[in-house]
Structures are given as C-alpha cells and as structure tokens.
C-alpha cells in the first residue's frame, strides 16, 4: 500500500479544477480553489470541518453551481449541471450519508439508477453484471441481499458498485471511514489502491491525517475555503500536514494527567441486559470507575457498547445487576434519576441524542435543567435566570454562536459538541459517560474535548469513556476494558497496553489476531 506519486506524474489528468469559487449568503465556501487529479491517482482532500471540502466536491458533482472557475474533465472544459451530467462524464460520488433504499435488494438499488430508466429493468441481467463487477474488484457484495440487512461497510461497497456499474472512473469518497470498523477500513484501503492500479482515479475526502499515509499519492489541503497547498504525501509528515490544515502548531497528543485515583464513583456488578427477544446483549459485566480516573471501554462498534451506556443511564432496564453511584444503589434508574444522582452523558450520536437541532442554544444548554423543573417558577420559565446561565456556559466553554437565541442547527459540528460539553460538564457532575465524544470533530475540537475531560478528571470527576477509536482510548484512559460480544474480555492498564494485544482482543480471540487492529494502525 505504498503511494506512487512518481508513477502517476506522467499520466494524463482526469479532472482539473481552476479557480472554483462558491458563495453562500454570508459565507465564502470556496475561494479560487484549483486542484487536479491524474488517472490512476488517489488524491487526498484534507481540511477541517467547514473548510469547504464537501462544497467543492458538490460543485464537481453538479449539486451546486459555482460562482466562478472552470472544470476540465479529461482535458476538456465542461459544465456540470447535475449528478447525471457528472456520471455521464464518469464522475461518481459516495456521500457521507448513503442514498440507498433499505427495503430493496442490492441489484434493485443499482438498477433503479435514473439513467437506466425508462424501460424494463432486467433484474437478472443486472444481478449477473453486478456480481461480475464485484468479482473483478474483489468486493464482497451479494446482489440479491436486501440493503437493510447489510452492515455499514457493505452498504458503502454497494454505493461504490453502483457508481462503477454506471461507468464512473473518478470516484469521490466523502469521509468514507467515518462509520467503518477497523477491518472494514482496512479493506476499503486495499480496494482504493486496486482501483488506482487499474487506472481509475479517487478523491478521498477526510479530516483525519492518519488515513492519508499509505493510501493517497498526493494531498490537497483546504483551509478557510482556500487551497493551502498540494503536497506529495511521501514528502511530508503528520505534524506538517496538521499545521497546514489547522494553520498553527497542533499538539496531536494530549498529555494524560496522572491523578491519584480516589474512591469508586460508579460501581457496576453483574450487569446483564437482554433484548426483547431474550438474546443476551450484555453478559455479566462488572467494573468500577474511581474519582479522578478515566476508565475506557474499547472495542469494535456493535459489541454491546450502546446497550451498556443505555443501561447505565436508565434508558434500558437490565435483567440483573447493580449500579451504584457514589456508594448509593440506583434502583429504578431513569435518565432523570441518573441526572439527579450526578451523572452526565456525552452521547454517541450528536444529532439524534446530543442536541435538538431545531431548538435554540438556550433551550439546548438548559434542557436537562428544564426537564427536572429548574429555572422555572410554577411552571413558567424564568428567562432572566435561564439567559444568564446559558450565556455564562457559552462563555466558559467557548461556544461560538451569534447568541443564545440561535437555533443549534446553525452551529458547526465542533461548536455543537462544545455545547453538549457545556451542558453536561457545566452541571459539575460526579460521573461523566462520554460515548464517542470526538466523532466527526476536527483536530482543534478534539483537543478541546480531551482537555475538558481531563480537567474534569483532575477535579476529581469519574469518567467512563466508550470509544471505537483505539487512539482515543490510548490517549485518554487510565485503565480500560476491551468489550467483545457483550462481555469485558480483560481490563488493561492504559500506560502499558500495546496495540498488538488490544487488537487481538478486539478481534475476539487471541488466535485470529491482528485484523481488527491493523487497519487503523498500520499506517501511523
């Protein structure tokens, strides 16, 4: 998987953008952006959230009309007015959020592509051709399986096959690794290199530096709507790229403060959770999180982490087990009693669970206070007190917002997460459950989240960090457990754990080793 910039330098160009400018009311999203991709090349498009990466690619894909600039495909100037135009030119894009019909089969999803209509759909023919295509590219996709049964990784492969089937030879992948497990990510990397070796081109959009090395040939860095530079990946290292992306020196590794751990704050014993059909999702888990400690839960997504968190905050009733907070057993646990007992939650899915996008900043900051009847007199909200409190939180946690009356939808992802931290940590809780707290955030925001959690720890708080990112566990956790199939396989010490061991554990057994770990780590 080594890059081959030299190899491609003589290849003809597949796509060239010259001076692309795109304005939205009040925002300049792309400012005179130029880049090019050659045939057989993987180009990384790196930038923080909001740097203009997705907008740029939506221009190429015909979803936005640029305000200025030119697009050349295979050396010819073109105007792309719609995704259909783009596909006719051989450009295909896989969005962050997949656009598949869940109830249809893979072949049906592929066959219903607009350009293949009208006329009879010959499903058998499509199935056969899709199967051949998958064979050719080594993609493991069964054309007859229903999309809703597929894993996220498999759905992504279907999106890619859909584009290949329609003749795309330049693929744009928008943050394709966001939802993948390490082994899936590893497979995707191999597939992308294969594509390039067959003379196709790939634009790989990301804000994660680690993903670029060993995968892309060159990398174009965007910052504040402008191109900072385009570099040969072999000629740069991680800190250099990070500095280009963020515009200042970044300490990528947050120092883990060493704190003398105190008394146990969260004690869990014999916790067993089953689903409605009686299948065991969490199997007899016991652990404790002490004051001044970050306890991590590592593991691949879907091994019971969601259910564990739901049981701890009272959203899911366990079959058996005891949960004690500060020595007091929590009976009849509900989200409200969890909050009242001094618990805080930074949830996994920011948009569904973290913030209410339609409500304003004030409502979002104080929702848990309102839910338990605070900041109100006889049912009527005391807006003077509420406003003062929310403005203090906005200041203390550096939430960048025009005001507390603004709907949260208007805030960037990083600021939404700061808002969640302000709400949860601002209550001065005893226990913080942080579930994938940096998902989808850029470097600066990740640093902020880590520092806030570490400050909480230094102040004597107990933190339970559930994460699918091993880097995050290594950076933050004093001790951590590896979760597989609803059980804790082993509890390790944060300082002395090594990637190899953890990777093997994550894979489920010591025998069928490192697959899980290799994907993310081979390249770093």
């Amino acid at each position: 998987m080594t890059g081959g910039a030299e190899r491609q330098s003589g290849s003809p160009e597949a796509l060239r953008l010259v001076g692309i400018t795109k304005r939205f009311p009040g925002v300049l999203a792309n400012d005179d952006v130029s880049l090019d991709v050659r045939k057989g090349e993987v180009l990384g498009l790196l930038g923080e959230n909001g740097a203009g990466k997705t907008t740029l690619m939506n221009v190429v894909y015909g979803l936005y009309k640029p305000d200025g600039g030119q697009i050349f495909v295979n050396g010819r100037e073109v105007e792309i007015k719609s995704p259909e135009d783009a596909l006719d030119l051989g450009i295909g894009m896989v969005h962050q959020h997949f656009k598949l019909v869940p109830d249809m089969t893979v072949a049906e999803n592929i066959a219903m592509a607009p350009s293949l209509l009208p006329g009879l759909i010959r499903l058998k023919k499509v199935e056969r051709e899709v199967a051949e295509l998958c064979e050719k590219f080594g993609l493991n996709v069964d054309p007859r399986s229903t999309v809703s049964d597929l894993t996220v990784g498999a759905r992504q492969r279907v999106e890619i096959v859909k584009l290949l089937y329609r003749g795309a030879d330049l693929l744009i992948l928008d943050e394709p690794t966001a939802a993948l497990t390490p082994p899936e990510w590893h497979e995707l990397g191999i597939f992308i290199r294969d594509l390039a070796d067959q003379g196709r081109s790939v634009i790989f959009i990301t804000h994660k530096l680690d993903e670029l090395f060993g995968l892309v040939d060159r990398c174009t860095v965007l910052r504040d709507a402008r191109v900072v530079d385009t570099v040969n990946i072999a000629a740069v290292d991680k800190p250099e790229l990070a500095k280009m992306m963020v515009g200042r020196e970044v300490t990528l590794r947050v120092q883990r403060p060493i704190v003398q751990a105190g008394k146990p704050v969260l004690e869990v014993s014999g916790l067993t959770v089953a689903d409605d059909e009686g299948r065991t999702l969490i199997d007899d888990i016991g652990f404790e999180v002490r004051a001044g400690e970050v306890f991590g839960v590592a593991g691949v997504a879907g091994n019971g982490q969601t259910e564990l968190v739901e049981a701890l905050i009272g959203l899911r009733q366990p079959e058996t087990g005891e949960i004690r907070l500060d020595g007091k057993a929590l009976k009849k646990l509900s989200p409200l009693t969890f909050t009242n007992a001094g618990g805080a939650l930074v949830p996994e899915d920011r948009h569904r669970e973290g913030v209410a996008l339609e409500l304003n900043v004030l409502d979002n900051l104080l929702m848990k206070e309102f839910a338990r009847g605070r900041y109100a007199k006889r049912g009527v909200i005391d807006f003077d007190a509420a406003r003062e409190r929310s403005e203090t939180l906005v200041r203390n946690y550096d939430v960048k917002t025009p005001g507390v009356d603004v709907p949260v939808r208007q805030l960037s992802g990083g600021n939404q997460q700061k808002l969640v931290l302000a709400r949860e940590l601002g209550r001065d809780p005893r226990l913080v459950i942080a579930f994938q707290p940096t998902r989808g955030l850029d470097v600066g925001a990740i640093e902020f989240v880590y520092n806030e959690l570490n400050d909480k720890k230094k102040a004597g708080g107990a933190i339970l960090l559930v994460s699918f990112e091993l880097d995050e566990i290594f950076t933050m956790a004093d001790r951590f457990a590896v979760m597989v199939d609803g059980r804790f396989l082993r509890v390790l010490d944060g300082g002395e754990a090594d990637l190899e061991t953890v990777g093997m554990l994550m894979g489920g057994s010591e025998a069928d080793a490192g697959v899980a770990a290799s994907g993310r780590t081979v390249t770093t």
């Binding site: 009311p25 925002v27 997705t54 839910a371």
Partner: protein, 367 residues
C-alpha cells in the same frame, strides 16, 4: 431577534400576497362560469366584509378555525400529527348538548360548564387515539381518521335518538336555553361573544409553548424522541398530553359551533368542514400560534365570501366549494414553495451541508 421579527413580517406580507393571487386565480373560474370579473370580485369582497352581517359571519367563523389551528400547532410542536379534529368537534359538541339540555343552571354557571363539557368531550375522544398510540403503537393519524367516521355516526344517532326534538320531523336537537348559549355580540348576526376566545386562546397557547416548562417539554419531544428520553422527558407521556390538549381545543371549537350557532339547536352537520380547514390555517400560519389569528381570518373570509357569492351572483354552490378548495390548495402550495425557496437561499451554514439540499428532506417534519 430583530432579524427574526423582520423575516416573520416578510413572511406575513408574502402570505397575504399569495392569498390575493390565489383569489385571482379562483376568480378565473367564476369568470368562466359566465360572471364578469369585476362583479365576481366585488361579490366576494362584499360577501366577506361588505356589510355588518357578512363581516359578523366572517368573524364568527374565525373562532372554530383558530381553535382547531391551535390544536394542530400543539400536537405538531410535540412531534405528533393527528387529523381527528372533525370527530373531536362533534364529540365535544355532543357533550355540550347534554349539559345544555339536561342540566339547568343560571346563565353565569351554565355557559362555563358548557365550555368545560366541550373541552372534556374533545379531550376524551382524542384520548382514545392517544392511548392507542402510546400503549399499542397504533398510528394516530389512522386512528383519528377512523374515529372521525365513528363520531359522525354517533352524532347522527344522537340527534335522531336520545336528543331528538320530538316536535320536529328533522334530525335536530331541541332548542338550548339561553343560559347555555354564548350571548350575541352584534344583535341578529352570527357574531357571539365567543370571538374573545380567538385572542385569548392564541396568546395562551403561544405563552404555553414559548415560556413554560410544559411547552418546552413538548418542543423537546417534537425535536427528537431520543434526546428527549435522554434528558428525562417521556415522549409518550408528553405526546398523550399534547394530543388530548389539542382535542380539548377542538372540543372547545365544537362548543362554539353548538352554543354560538346561527340557530339555537343543532343537527348532524354542525361540524362543517372546520376540522380540516383549521389544519390548513395552521399550515398557512407556519405553525405559529399568534399568526394563526390572521390566517384564520383569511380562511373565514374565504368561506363567508364564497357562501354569499352563491346568492349574489348566482353561481352554483358546487362551484363555490370548488373555488374554496382550490384556494386552500393554492395558498398552501404557494406558501410552501416560498418557504422552501427561502430556506434554501438563506441556509446560513450552507458549506457545512453534508447532503445536498433536497426538497423532500425539507418537507419532512422537523425531527
């Protein structure tokens, strides 16, 4: 805040322009029916506002429209939808007929009891759908739609059986005592004192939603069930309350239709089309409780103007019905399009949009 007010004002002006445009389109059909454009337009405007009698009719029709619209706004904010207003109006009205005819009280007590009965009837009838939804997962749109049919049949039996006026061959109730009726505001018109419910209810609901914990809980549940659950607010409990409150508002509309009607007794058709037109009012008002008042005025004028047109320029009543339906469709279509265009052009964080803006996604209720 000022920007928001300015946008709101502009929205309102646009809505009015759209309504006028829709009226002009509707008049084309009147012209096609052989009536000159000017006499058609004149008949409509004077039919809605021209005389004291017509203006009173328009204002009287605002009452049920506003109350139903507020009922819709309440459930909408809590993230639920139901279309049971016609049925809740009828059941609220049936409760009212019992209290009005079977209980004898002095005026100062009788009317308040009538209103309470109407609200209770609407709330309880909505409560059936709410319970089915919360406990059994029955889609509340479906259940309320079917409950509407049941309510209509119940009322048909009601005015022929238990509450039939035996002196009349028609399916009508006996006349209600004056103590159970809203007093007239303008003598010999349809306008009764229940018109005061319009500003009072609009302000109360607006206050409830914007400034109280109960309203906050509804808005929180409406903006996302998961996040509400994690904050400790039960979507089921709040959903049931919202549906029942909306039923109470519809029941209050039913009380007005019974106790402030043109005649002192009611038949099986007192509900009219308010139960559905009220939803259109709420949509035109963009689910803003205060904006529901002018929106209700517009639809009330449509209804009243259309009715009088029938008599003054002699077009058939089915054409009037057609024009009213057409105007509802045009007003809603045009305001929805305007709204979408605006959302797209003013998207403040457009570069952050990960998915391209598709009209479908924006038409979906905010989650």
């Amino acid at each position: 805040m000022r920007a928001r007010l300015a946008t709101g004002g502009l929205d309102f002006v646009l809505s009015v322009c759209v309504a006028i445009l829709a009226l002009l389109v509707a008049l084309i059909f009147v012209v096609a029916a052989g009536v000159s454009f000017t006499s058609g337009a004149d008949a409509f405007v004077s039919g809605a506002f021209g005389s004291q009698l017509n203006l009173a009719g328009t204002l009287a029709k605002m009452v049920p429209l506003t109350l139903v619209a507020l009922g819709w706004i309440v459930v909408f904010k809590a993230g639920r939808f139901h279309v049971g207003f016609p049925g809740q109006i009828l059941v609220g009205g049936m409760f009212v007929t019992v209290v009005a005819l079977k209980i004898h009280l002095p005026a100062g007590l009788h009317l308040p009891l009538v209103l309470v009965a109407g609200m209770a009837g609407g709330a309880l009838y909505a409560g059936i759908a709410a319970w089915l939804w919360a406990k059994r997962g029955v889609n509340e749109i479906l259940s309320t739609l079917l409950l509407n049919l049941i309510a209509a049949q119940l009322l048909a039996w009601w005015v022929r059986g238990p509450l039939h006026d035996h002196t009349s061959p028609l399916p009508l109730t006996p006349a209600f005592p004056n103590s159970a009726r809203w007093p007239e505001l303008l003598k010999n018109t349809d306008l009764h004192w229940d018109i005061v419910l319009v500003p009072i209810a609009a302000i109360l609901i607006s206050f409830l939603l914007a400034r109280t914990l109960a309203g906050f809980r509804m808005r929180l549940v409406g903006s996302g069930e998961m996040i509400a659950r994690e904050a400790g607010v039960s979507p089921e409990r709040i959903g049931v309350r919202a549906i029942m409150l909306s039923g109470a508002l519809a029941g209050l509309a039913g009380a007005s239709l019974v106790a402030a009607g043109t005649t002192p007794q009611v038949g099986e058709d007192f509900g009219g089309t308010y139960g559905f037109t009220g939803i259109a009012v709420a949509l035109l008002a963009r689910n803003n409780a205060l904006a529901a008042v002018p929106a209700a005025l517009l639809f009330a004028a449509l209804e009243q103007g259309g009715q009088t047109m029938e008599g003054t320029v002699g077009i058939s009543s089915s054409l009037v019905d057609f024009i009213q339906g057409l105007m509802i469709v045009l007003v809603l279509a045009a305001t929805t399009v305007l709204y979408l265009v605006r959302r797209r052009t003013t998207k403040p964080r457009a570069p952050k949009a990960t998915a391209p803006p598709t009209p479908r996604a924006e038409l979906e209720p905010s989650k």
